[in-house]
C-alpha cells in the first residue's frame, strides 16, 4: 500500500483540497491577506521610487517600478480584483508623491494625464495577463493532479481478482482521495444490486439512502445530495456506467457546504467510467467461468451416459447369460458349473454396484456447484473405512497401511476421499495378480498431506501414463480375460481431488508396480 500512501501526500496540495476536504474557507481572512500584499508591495515600490528620486533618477524609472509592483501583486494575489486595485493605487500614489505639486492628486504638467492613462492601461493589462497565466497554470496543475489520481486508481484496480475486490479497492481509493465516506456497489451476475462495499460510514445503511442509490442504479443518472432527486440524502450518488448499461453506483458523503460544480461531477464520472471498465472485465470473466463450468458439466453428463451404456452392458450381459443358461439347462448342469455361473453373477453384480456408487458421485459433481461437505476428518478413520470396504472383496491381496503416528485432521468431504481411496485400491487389485501387495500410505508435508496407493504389479507402459485419468482409458495389455478397465473410477478420483484443491498423479515404481499419489491441503 506504499503507493497509496505516497499518493495521499501528493493529493494534499491539490487546489480541490479546499472543496474536497470540506474546510470552510475564511473569505475575510483571504481578503485581508490579499489587501496586505497589495499595500505591502505598493509601499515597497513607493520606497524604492523615493530612493530613486534621492539618487536623482529619471521619472520613467518610478513608473516602471510601480508597474513591476502591479505585476508582482497580480502574481501573488487571488483574482483580478487586486491587480486592478494595485494599478489604480499605483497611478494615484505616483501622482501623489512624484508629480508636481507633490503630496496632492493634482498634476500641473499637461503631459501627465496621458502618462497616468498609459501607466494605468499598462498596469491593467499586465495584471490581467499575469492573473490569467496564473489561473491557467493552476488549472493545468489540477488537471495533472486529476490524471494522477485516475492513474493511481487504475493502477490499483489492475491488480484486483474479483468483483468484490474491485468494490473494495475503488471504495478505499475514493475514500482516501476525498477523505469522505464512500459506498461502492455493483450488480451481481443476475443484475441485482447485491454487491457492495462501504468505507467509513454506516449512513449508507439507511432506508432512504438505499432508495436513493437504487434510483441511481435504475435510472442511470445521479441523485442524492446536490441534485434534484433525493436531495435530502446525505450522499451524492452517481452511476457506474459501462457499455452494457449501469453496472453499479458510487455514493460519496460530501460535507454540507460543499458545492459540486459541473467539472467535479465530470471528474467523478471519469472515475466511474474507470471502475466500469474493470467491473465489465470481471463480469466477462465471471460469465466465462460459468460457461466453462457448464461445458464441463455437460461433458461430464455426456460421458456419464456413454459410461453407463459402455460399462453397464458388459456385466449385465454376463448376468443375463449366466442366469438364463442356468434356468434353461437346470437339470443338465452339474453343481460345479452352476456354482461357477453363480460366482460369475455375483462378481458382475458387485462390479455393477461399485459402478453405481461412482456414478452417484459423478452426478453429485454434475448437479452444478460442487458442494463438498467438508469437515475436519481424521485421516486414520478415512483410510480405515476405505480399507475395510475393499477388504470384503480383496481376495488374496495383502493390504498394508502406513500412516503418521500422530492424529492428523484434514478438512475434507470424508465420503468423497474414502471413495477415492476405494477406487485406487480397487484399481490396484484389479490389475495385479492374487497375492500381490498393495500399500496405502499417508505422510505429512509442510501444508499438504500426501496419500499413496501403490502395488507391486507390472505397472503400465510409460506412454500410457498421461492418459490414465481419461475417461474410457484401458491398458492396451489388458487381455479379454482380465477385468474391464476402471477408467471412470480414476476420472472421478481426479475430479474429487481437484475439487478439494489437491493434485493427483501416477507413476511407475522403479522396483515395478504402479503408484498413485494425491495431495490434499491440511488447512482450509
Amino acid at each position: 500500500m506504499q503507493t497509496t500512501k505516497s499518493a495521499k501526500h501528493s493529493y494534499e496540495d491539490i487546489d480541490l483540497k479546499h472543496f474536497y476536504r470540506g474546510k470552510p474557507l475564511n473569505i475575510a481572512l483571504l481578503v485581508i491577506k490579499n489587501v496586505c500584499i497589495v499595500v505591502g508591495i505598493m509601499s515597497l515600490a513607493t520606497l524604492i521610487s523615493f530612493g530613486f528620486r534621492a539618487l536623482g533618477f529619471y521619472e520613467a524609472n518610478f513608473i516602471m517600478t510601480y508597474i513591476l509592483g502591479v505585476l508582482l501583486v497580480a502574481n501573488f494575489t487571488d483574482g483580478y480584483l487586486y491587480g486592478i486595485l494595485a494599478s489604480v493605487l499605483g497611478v494615484m500614489v505616483f501622482n501623489y508623491f512624484f508629480t508636481e505639486p507633490y503630496y496632492t492628486l493634482i498634476a500641473y504638467n499637461p503631459g501627465y494625464p496621458v502618462t497616468f492613462f498609459i501607466m494605468l492601461v499598462v498596469a491593467l493589462i499586465t495584471s490581467t495577463l499575469t492573473g490569467r497565466e496564473k489561473r491557467e497554470y493552476q488549472r493545468a496543475e489540477v488537471r495533472e493532479k486529476r490524471i494522477r489520481i485516475l492513474y493511481q486508481i487504475e493502477k490499483n484496480l489492475l491488480a484486483v481478482k474479483s468483483k468484490q475486490q474491485v468494490l473494495e479497492v475503488a471504495a478505499k481509493d475514493i475514500n482516501e482521495l476525498f477523505g469522505a465516506p464512500v459506498l461502492v456497489c455493483a450488480a451481481d451476475i443476475n443484475g441485482e444490486l447485491n454487491m457492495r462495499h462501504i468505507e467509513g460510514d454506516v449512513t449508507f445503511e439507511d432506508k432512504r439512502e438505499q432508495k436513493a442509490y437504487m434510483e441511481a442504479f435504475q435510472s442511470g443518472s445521479a441523485c442524492g445530495a446536490g441534485t434534484q432527486l433525493f436531495s435530502d440524502c446525505s450522499a451524492y450518488y452517481f452511476p457506474i456506467s459501462g457499455q452494457s448499461g449501469v453496472l453499479g453506483v458510487i455514493g460519496i458523503i460530501f460535507p454540507k457546504h460543499y458545492s459540486l460544480s459541473e467539472s467535479r461531477k465530470v471528474f467523478l464520472d471519469t472515475i466511474g467510467t474507470q471502475i466500469a471498465l474493470v467491473l465489465e472485465r470481471e463480469q466477462l470473466y465471471e460469465k466465462q467461468q460459468q460457461t466453462k463450468m457448464e461445458i464441463v458439466h455437460e461433458r461430464l453428463r455426456g460421458d456419464l451416459l456413454r459410461a453407463v451404456s459402455h460399462d453397464f452392458r458388459t456385466p449385465l450381459t454376463g448376468i443375463i447369460g449366466s442366469s438364463s443358461t442356468m434356468l434353461e439347462n437346470y437339470d443338465s448342469l452339474t453343481d460345479d458349473v452352476m456354482k461357477e455361473f453363480l460366482q460369475g453373477i455375483y462378481d458382475d453384480a458387485e462390479w455393477l454396484n461399485n459402478l453405481v456408487e461412482n456414478i452417484l458421485n459423478v452426478t453429485r459433481f454434475a448437479e452444478g456447484n460442487i458442494k463438498l461437505a467438508k469437515e475436519m476428518e481424521a485421516v486414520e478413520e478415512i483410510v480405515a473405512e476405505a480399507v475395510s470396504r475393499v477388504k470384503k472383496r480383496s481376495g488374496q491381496h495383502k493390504i498394508t497401511i502406513s500412516i503418521p503416528d500422530e492424529l492428523v485432521m484434514i478438512p475434507v468431504d470424508g465420503m468423497m476421499i474414502e471413495q477415492v481411496l476405494v477406487n485406487l485400491l480397487d484399481n490396484a487389485m484389479k490389475h495385479t495378480p492374487q497375492d500381490s501387495n498393495v500399500t496405502v500410505s499417508a505422510a505429512l508435508n509442510d501444508k499438504d498431506i500426501i496419500f499413496e496407493v501403490s502395488d507391486d504389479g507390472q505397472g503400465i507402459p510409460e506412454s500410457d501414463l498421461p492418459y490414465i485419468f481419461n475417461r474410457f482409458y484401458k491398458t492396451k495389455t489388458d487381455d479379454s480375460n482380465t477385468r474391464r478397465g476402471f477408467a471412470l473410477g480414476l476420472t472421478i478420483c481426479k475430479s474429487i481431488i481437484q475439487a478439494h484443491g489437491g493434485n493427483i498423479s501416477v507413476q511407475n515404481k522403479p522396483s515395478g508396480g504402479l503408484t498413485f499419489r494425491f495431495t490434499l491441503p491440511t488447512k482450509e
Binding site: 453384480a349 469437515e375 481424521a378 478413520e381 473405512e385 480399507v387 497401511i401 492424529l407
Partner: protein, 230 residues
Amino acid sequence: MDTLILIVEDEKPIRHFIKVTLETQNYKCLEAQNGTLALSMIASHRPDIIILDLGLPDIDGMDVIIKSREWTKVPIIVVSARGHEREKIEALDAGADDYLTKPFSVAELLARIRVALRRTALEGSSDEIQLIFTLDKLKIDFEKRKVQLSEKDIHLTPTEYNLLKLLAKHHGKVLTHKFIINDIWGTSSVDDTQTLRVCMGNIRRKIEIDPAQPRYIITEVGIGYRMVDE
C-alpha cells in the same frame, strides 16, 4: 422358542431373498410390503426383530420407527442405500438399533441379527448392571473405572473413559455422533464433532495396535462409531 423376524420391504425379490436366507438359519419370518401393514403386524405378532426398508410406498419408514417406538423396544434394523447417510442418522436417532447399507451380503445381515438378539437377551436376562466388560484383550471394570489391555493398565482421561464406557455399554450398536456428543458433552455443535474425533483418535492410540486397522472401535464414516461385538 423360535425367533420371529418381520421383514418390511416393498420389493418382492429382496423380501424373498431375505426370507429364504433367514429360514435357512431357522428363524421364522413375517413379511410386510408397506408401512401400515407393518405397524399392525408389529402390534399383533410381536416380532423379535424388525428389518425395515426406509423407502416404503405408503408411509415413511421413519414414521414406522417413531410410531412403534411409542410402545415397544423391539430391535429395528433399517436398510438404506449408500449416500443416504442423513436418512440413516435420522433413523438411528429416532430409535432404530442398527442399519444395513444396500446392497448388503447375507453374512452382514446375519451378523446384525445376531448382535440384535444378543442385546435383547442381555437386557432381558437381568437388571443388574454389568460390572466388567471384556472384548478380546480389552477389559473394562466399570466399578473401579479401570481399563486394561492384555492385562496392562491403560490410562484414560475422564472424558476418554466415559466415551469408551458409552461405546462398551452399547457394544455392537452404532452410536451416532449426535448421540455420543449429547451423552458425553451435553451439547451438540459442529465443533464438538471435531472434539469427538480427536478424543477418539486418542483412545485408539491407547487401545488399538494399529489405529488405521482398528480392532475394537470401528468408524462408520458420516454416521458415528461402533464398538465391535465379537
